[in-house]
Amino acid sequence: MLILEGLSKTYKTGDAALRDVSLTVPKGQIMGLIGPSGAGKSTLIRCINRLVEPTGGKVLLGDMDLVRLGKADLRRQRRRIGMIFQEYALVERLTVMENVLSGRLGYVPFWRSFLRKYPPADIQRAYQLLDRVGLIEHADKRADALSGGQRQRVGIARALAQDPELLLVDEPTASLDPKTSRQIMRLLTEICAERDLPAIVNIHDVPLAQQFMQRIVGLRAGRVVFDGTPDQLTHDALTAIYGEEDWNEMRRGDEEQTRAELDARDRMAALAR
């Protein structure tokens, strides 16, 4: 279970990215974090594993306050938190297997990671995870030889290799097409259900969030302005999160995009015929 208490972050420039955010994410819950760009979604999840240093508040994972940890302890606690990134953030020139095994870096001494001599159990588990995400035959390929959807599945396998107690997911579908996006979201939700893993998912695609999340939190200018189930995410709630004009604009944009996609698909079908 993850508890955030009064979490705040003010950047050196004076921008307050998070103001007094308090949230509780119980075991097995998948929470979607929505909000306009600059609302503090990325800052929030990065404050949890302290890739960004929070300026105030508490982050409790189990009964450990992550904000107060020193360097070595922080490294040990980061192992408990798996992170999945926008644009995958795989090390492109390493093989798929090395990328998955890099999830074990916090557990093995330097010489093992340097010589790529991981313990047999780690290797077995890496193969098992690659099989789970459907990429076992790509293990020896370089990461930059894979497609976007495949890369993101390697990213998921890397995060799971850590044996995490929490998943932080930053815009997992930002650079994927709609169909692949849904496949990735389905895989994520299945995996969280299998392992009873809590997850925080930053997502700017509202319909996708409504389809896959159990709970949705809306951020606006660093504050929580909505917290409820996808059904409770009404027009009014969305207006509170995105602002009047922007939300209508976004919806119109979405509709237009859907129409354009349908049109493109029809034309492709006509070409194929």
Binding site: N49, L51, R75, R76, Q77, R78, R79, I81, M83, F85, E87, A89, L90, V91, E92, R93, L94, E98, S102, G103, R104, L105, G106, Y107, F110, S113, F114, G155, R158, Q162
Partner: protein, 268 residues
């Protein structure tokens, strides 16, 4: 489309000096300076005429290079140069890697960063010939002074370019590795090394052929190798042997050039 009262000509506005008078004054000033400066160069035409003949002999030496009569000296100088080049590149690159990592702002703490950048600055500020004179004075004539010179110069070159390259890596990959709980060493090994390795290998190969060319230059000030042989040949007015040496230098640099570009194709 309507054509309103808009101008039909356009000129790029002056970027530096807005005032036309200033522009003309400065241009005239530059021309006057150039004329005076060229006028101040003294040319001894009689000496030029005498030198022409010597230059002609030099060119003839080139056209009829003599590889045989000094072949022992030439081959010994060449072997010395090649040994010096290879050893100094290997040692220089090996020392450059830790210094380069230390000089990357995104990996090293501030104080280490400043120390490493100072080492690089010193190495880059001193030209090879000056360092060679210094090392020859310290360790005597011969290839050892040359080896030290080239190693030292390699540090400035490789460490600087490596550090700049490390500062430009894709931070997202580094962030992802850091998020797994990796230590600093693991971060360098997993996130930084894969990103900079192809360029480091390319730069090392490039430095290898720079070092060979430099070995010919520093030989002239006493640091051994093919440069020393070349210097002796010119001192003895044996332009045919000097021509042979220059042709060998050109050949070796060309071989190094082609083989390194061939090797670099495999990286990436």
């Amino acid at each position: 489309m309507t054509t309103g009262p808009y101008p039909t000509t356009w000129r790029r506005p002056p970027q530096i000096l807005k005032d036309l008078r200033w522009r003309i004054a400065i241009q005239i000033g530059i021309v006057i300076y150039l004329v005076l400066a060229i006028g101040s160069v003294e040319v001894n035409w009689a000496r030029v005429y005498a030198g022409l003949e010597r230059g002609q002999r030099f060119v003839m030496g080139f056209l009829q290079p003599d590889f045989t009569s000094r072949w022992r000296d030439i081959s010994q100088g060449l072997i010395e140069s090649l040994t010096m080049t290879l050893t100094s590149t290997v040692v220089g690159v090996a020392i450059s890697i830790p210094i380069g990592i230390g000089a990357a702002r995104n990996l090293a703490p501030r104080w280490i960063y400043y120390i490493c950048r100072s080492i690089i600055a010193v190495s880059r500020a001193l030209q090879e010939v000056i360092i060679a004179i210094f090392f020859v004075a310290m360790f005597g004539f011969g290839p050892f002074a040359g080896f030290l010179t080239l190693s030292f110069a390699t540090i400035g070159f490789i460490a600087k370019l490596l550090a700049d390259d490390i500062e430009e890596i894709d931070e997202a990959q580094a962030e992802a590795v850091r998020a797994t709980g990796a230590s600093w060493g693991q971060l360098v090994n997993y996130a930084v090394q894969p990103q900079v390795m192809p360029r480091l290998i390319g730069l090392s190969l490039y430095r290898l052929d720079i070092n060979f060319r430099e070995s010919a230059v520093i030989g002239i000030v006493g640091a051994g190798g093919i440069g020393a042989t070349l210097n002796t040949a010119i001192d003895r007015y044996e332009y045919d042997s000097a021509g042979a040496i220059l042709l060998i230098i050109i050949a070796v640099v060309m071989v190094a050039e082609y083989s390194s570009s061939y090797l670099r194709k495999f990286l990436q």
